[in-house]
Symmetry: D2
Subunit: 494 residues, 4 copies
């Protein structure tokens, strides 16, 4: 067909090429340089490229890096992106030899390698921020092991617990989420280089060596999966989403606890916005900001995952630069959320007076009274239960705290059993006290001090293991960077 049009159409240039150029310049130029160097080292070491040629290419790469600042570049249309600019510069300086660097590789494997290099750094930072939050939760859980709170079911006061026990629950979930994140990050440690366009190359490349020099743990095996598999992207963002979905639930508790009428949670002035006209109104606005930051982060994650729906399993732009970059918003909003959550949960306090007032008004220790009767008076669960319930009803009718309702209890006991209770005033007080309630919950996973301390030890071990994994990955990448620099320098010195 007759076709006098020439690439690129101006609309294509504006809507696609310029944003792509910008994206590569901003996010990938440095990683592309690292790939160039690692690949050149490997081509030389495997004998694919003669050492003398390699030296000339290494020199040119060095010079180009010294002469060109990606940050200062703008899209002119001359070069599609940073990659082509470097390639053109190599040819300008080296002639035909300039093309040799691209032996046994392709934009396809390079692209996904760069995407993983960016994601592994961003994910490591996010995991760090998550671990910092976990550390704060762990510290606070220990400090607040003896701080009573009202625990809720169905949104209503249900039983006493401690702030430490609650924070430990949050921590347990968070550590599980961070573990899921860490596992998802393992996919980022498998290097696509060597897949070339689709099915590796006919040259005797060393995939392990390139993977090592770029700080990966190993090559990704199947070459087609290297360049078409989006699983490292979807797995990562799915894991990130859950961190924030679950933290968003804690945020809802914080919102409720800090409500004016509830007041279980005291938010310090540093985190409260005051209405000038309503000085009595203390708005704990960070809570709302955590909520929307968490929700928007979930949305960013979904955006990336759902972009892959019904895309073909073949190399495609659906998982490339632009979509990758759209995902980075999740790290930005998510990181802010984690830092804010750490500041918030690190500083809030429990208002003991409000806790006790609610606990008393809501008779939340009444189940322990029943349990005590089963244990100490040998009653059936049901009979004990009837007595406890009658006591609570009487207390509420008299608007009296449960702790001051021993007479009502004694009467209910007599009604139900036909005898007097052996529970004296002290035993009764102990039976309905928040502290006693908690102290008796010493089974694994309970709030009693020893049980909680044991749990915190478990979490500390999990926490340390995650931190170790993270540190090991960073050490591997630092070591790789040193090895790469040394090997590249050796080429220059040839």
């Amino acid at each position: 067909m007759t076709d006098t049009s020439a690439f690129p159409d101006p609309v294509y240039r504006e809507t696609v090429l310029e944003p792509l150029f910008e994206g590569v310049r901003t996010h990938y130029a440095g990683h592309m340089d690292a790939i160039n160097r690692a690949h050149l080292v490997m081509l030389t070491e495997t004998g694919i490229l003669p050492r003398a040629d390699a030296a000339r290419i290494a020199g040119a790469l060095s010079d180009i890096a010294a002469d060109t600042d990606p940050a200062s570049l703008t899209y002119t249309g001359e070069h599609e992106d940073w990659f082509f600019l470097v390639e053109a510069e190599l040819r300008r300086r080296l002639g035909d030899l300039g093309g040799a660097l691209h032996t046994a590789r392709s934009r396809n494997d390079m692209d996904h390698t760069m995407f993983k290099m960016v994601l592994r750094d961003r994910a490591a930072t996010l995991l760090d921020e998550g671990l910092a939050l976990a550390a704060t939760l762990r510290r606070r859980a220990g400090e607040e092991a003896g701080t009573p709170i009202v625990a809720y079911t169905h949104g209503q006061p249900a039983q006493p617990s401690t702030f430490g026990h609650y924070l430990a629950a949050v921590l347990e979930v968070l550590l599980g989420d961070l573990d899921r994140l860490a596992r998802a990050m393992q996919a980022l440690d498998a290097c696509p280089m060597g897949a070339a366009a689709i099915i590796t190359t006919g040259f005797p490349i060393d995939r392990d060596r390139v993977a090592h020099l770029l700080g990966f743990e190993r090559p990704r095996l199947n070459s087609y999966a290297c360049i078409a598999g989006v699983d490292y992207v979807t797995g990562l963002y799915s894991a990130i989403k859950l961190v924030f979905l679950h933290l968003g639930r804690v945020v809802q508790d914080m919102a409720f606890w800090s409500a004016f009428e509830v007041g279980q949670l005291y938010v310090p002035n540093a985190l409260v916005q005051v209405s000038s006209i309503m000085p009595q109104k203390r708005n704990p606005v960070p809570i709302e900001h955590m909520r929307h930051l968490a929700a928007v982060t979930c949305g960013h994650c979904d955006t990336i995952v759902d972009t892959m729906r019904n895309t073909p399993f073949t190399d495609m732009n659906d998982s490339e630069g632009e979509v990758q970059q759209a995902g980075y918003a999740a790290f930005a909003s998510g990181g802010r959320m984690l830092r804010l959550a750490e500041a918030f949960l690190g500083q809030v306090r429990i208002d003991g007076a409000r806790v006790r007032a609610t606990a008393d008004a809501a008779c939340i220790t009444v189940t322990e009274l029943a349990d005590t009767l089963v244990r100490d008076e040998g009653l059936t669960f049901r009979a004990a239960h009837e007595i406890a319930a009658a006591t609570a009803r009487a207390a509420i009718a008299a608007r009296a705290p449960l702790s001051a309702s021993r007479d009502a209890f004694a009467a209910a006991f007599r009604d139900q059993t036909g005898r007097d209770t052996a529970l004296g005033p002290d035993a009764y007080a102990a039976a309905v006290s928040m502290e006693g309630f908690v102290a008796r919950r010493d089974r694994p996973g309970g709030p009693a001090p020893a049980a909680l301390a044991a749990a915190l030890d478990t979490y500390a071990a999990t926490h340390a293991a995650l931190a170790d994994t993270l540190a090991a990955g960073r050490a591997r990448r630092r070591e790789a960077e040193a090895d790469r620099a040394a090997a590249f320098a050796a080429l220059l010195e040839t």
Copy 2:
């Protein structure tokens, strides 16, 4: 409780206050100024504020605008955002009177008014881009009314149609989507001003006047809904999503049609990226970019909508600045997609030779042969159908085009009916020609020229109505701007 902490916590400042300040500076400063002026005019006209006071405030607002460039501001922590900076400046210049501007209003109604002002402009631009795409589709549908294509069901060649008829289908869906968008935009025309903090104000304000001066069609009625209803946000983004969800389906057709093996669609050079090593490989990459731009836009829309899940129906940051701004990404990616789709659909062509080759190979006109036999030979549908099927089988077995298989047809006819067909060679050729097939489909909604032309007239009317609505909204806003400027100038001259 003892609390020596002071607002703001440094983490809160970094994670919340600075981004908020940036957001207001970038997106809302101008709209806030417009609100200040409109509100001042109304306060004066209703007598809530004495004219002399209003003149002083107007003068100060003018001076502040002249002295301050929002673009140059950075967050210092002194003022929470642009709003407080202006308020502080007013007080610095006017003393107590500086506070009078805030009579009978609140950040709550101001915020949602600004959010709607931004959204109505962005949505108008998007609707414009959608209408431009619709105009291109309409033009192309007319031009391509006589261009045969293969139409598919279940991904397999099924029947002839025309490119014009296909584009008309796309257009019909798009116009429906733009109509949904336009209706969703109506919610942006209802002004929240006057809701004040929650339940209006005790001052005798004129909500209609402020709404008019800010270019709205009317006030939103219930004041609590004004500041807590997120329906204008969710309704808008839900409508936007569908534009792109549906265009994404057209993109999939384009991808298939332009595949090397299919070749029904010719993508001109201006829109094709060529692999230097594989010169024969013409990658119509804009198709992929349209797909991910559409998908990511859907995701941005979902992000905003789903952020509202299980948030309380009360004034909350979940629908405020940061979330609003996260949504703007949908307009950016969506606008790019629409412009690219217009460039693409405006330039692609049908490759007639490939179309005919596929049509012949796939015997896609065979159903018309059956219909012809029902009509002209008086056969039952089933008998006609048997003959047509036998003809197709014979053609395929002989690897002959259907058009060259009249003998096979005649034999099948005789087998089935025991008599000779009255369909001569010309009649047979007509019965199995793509053009004849199409020409006979002249029922409303069909591809025959008159039917398509009538449909295009209908779409033109819908298109014009949407364009008129859009233009009317813009005219109203321009008029409002003029009225506001005049009324404000009048205050200055007092």
Copy 3:
């Protein structure tokens, strides 16, 4: 290629054909019969089918309907579904003529016609349930126009309002959502019949007539859009989602209001589950059930919409039987949610004593005190504001209700202005009373009785218009049913 396999593969039979058969049997058999009859009438009236033939076919259809109960059928593999069973029966009884009914139509247009027939009935029921909830809200809003409540911003007590005003806000949003739903339902009124397989038919069919006989308002125009457009599905479910997303926000308010510590909302015993062991614990569990029913309904809607992502715009199973049926779950859970919400919002009450206690403790009328000073004492907004704030601070420090703090107010006034306030005890009491606060908010959209009454009139009109539209659609369908029956009977009598 050699291929000795025969359709259907047993796994295909189990995973696809049986569920499909079940689906058609359960949901579509009746509608298919209606289509058969309407199409037959049209074929006869247009002369496409001779009247005598039509009479025989009509008779056979009647007999088959009398002889066969879809409910009793099970999948045997003999007939792919109900459609093929009827077709086979027609052929068994009429020979060749049995095939004539399928002239000028296709499974494609029939399928989408049936899908719309099911959806329009289900959507009408849902709209009915939504309108019933709206009616209850409207009634309650009127009844509770004078019932004070605490209104919240940022989750904290902010200002007085009335329950009627709050319910009116909910109603305003709901009516907007129902209007969106009603508009989305308009797409269900456009009949696909006549599109045939893709591009209409060569027979002189009358699309208007078939549309009318099946209770549609009009044919859908473009035939390709008739069978490939999923916009009627996505538009409908998108609209449904928002109904529940927004109601889910009201549910969160109800959860908070009914919390033990807040107690603004009294949930009657009929809707409260009691813990036997904790008799004081009243769990307003319907709130939680509304929340998850709303959320799951949103999810069902998303499921259908997102299934269409990146599907080709061509006739495909992605929008057919199984996916259609997956969507019906949204009507089931959504309908339950609406009925439960109506029962709940129709019966809950405001606990005035709790409201007043919170209002007093939180000094929520203090802004009106400031406004009063601006109005009646001629102070600037800021000065008035300082006095009001000082009064609130003093009240809170003294743990005294604001209403009992006139002395503190008088002192603050003197401090700020250097003179005595003119506000006597009665005027002060009025200035800080909830009732006075509300009564002064008489601007359009405010809670003052006249303003609210006017708003309710507006909502009544919107409500009536929606109910009329719904009724008109039903009337049209009833009339169509009668016309179809009559026309079909006439065929029988030929």
Copy 4:
């Protein structure tokens, strides 16, 4: 407040209680019985319950199980669900002692224990189905190791590969997804029993013992997380979603490969639906059904995950019975999809003639020609590349297969280098053959036979490990069942 209403409101009964009863009856009754028995055993072993009492309770439980068939129950309103029915029966038979079974436990820990018991079975079945698909992929990948296909990038023919290599890529992704699923299932192995209502119990329970008797690996630690953490739900459904999201991408390839014009994939008759009127039209409809089944499964998963958004982190119905049951739809549709995919991928074949035709027409081996020139002629990459490109251009211009274009190649070589190529006809033929292209790709992850065989060994190990884990879990549960039965029987014999 006066309240004469009585629980339950009829609407609540219809919309909540009846569905809840149905749900428990259908899904949980058996698991509840197991919990009753395990808990009774533990209460007895720990001495919390006297052995004689335990014997009587055990007897009653046995009798009730013998007398009552959950399948035959209908909701009467007398008992809220199966739990209360059993409890009432115990009391009817044992008097007060009937209540003793509920010592040291709660509906909260029981509920989540049952939910996990259901999920672990369903997830195990799904994992089984996934592993069966993986086994089929592994078998086929081995069988098709030498079957050439066209591999695509950007939707266009790019390079040769083998069907085995492609299937191995699919397998590699699938195994990663199944591994993620298996890890998510680990959360189902942590037993909530012992958490009681929220914070464990004051009785000296043995959580490990109950966990063991119910087939769990361990107790879940923090008791509050046991009853409020939804992470086991969200983690599971997130992992399931990705299985289907990724398979959906393979489906898109299958759709393309089997298109009439492409024909790379031959779908056997057993899996093809034929149009009676268009006998030449072979619709490989299973592909479409796989697509929508996969998409709907993704949607079901999202429904559950997103239902948790912004719910409070406290025991709530958002993660209980009804929502749990809504999730089971994912296992139904997902299981069907996996079985269908296995049948499909197990039976489809590559049409070698079509593959070669496309490969030749698209010159997809041209990159190997360039690589050969670098290797064997010592050219730079760029020079080799120019020659290869010129050869391809000439072949396409002459409509000749690349394999028949050695003359054009020789000319291009001379043009570029000024000398004659050393590549004789055989070497040229080898350089441009699909088989040679593939054979040279012998790097790890490549399609050459040895490389693929090595990869398949790796996958076999992963596959076996997953199968072992699955089998171990099942063995543990069978053993637990036996232990529970024995321990319970021992109680009966007391």
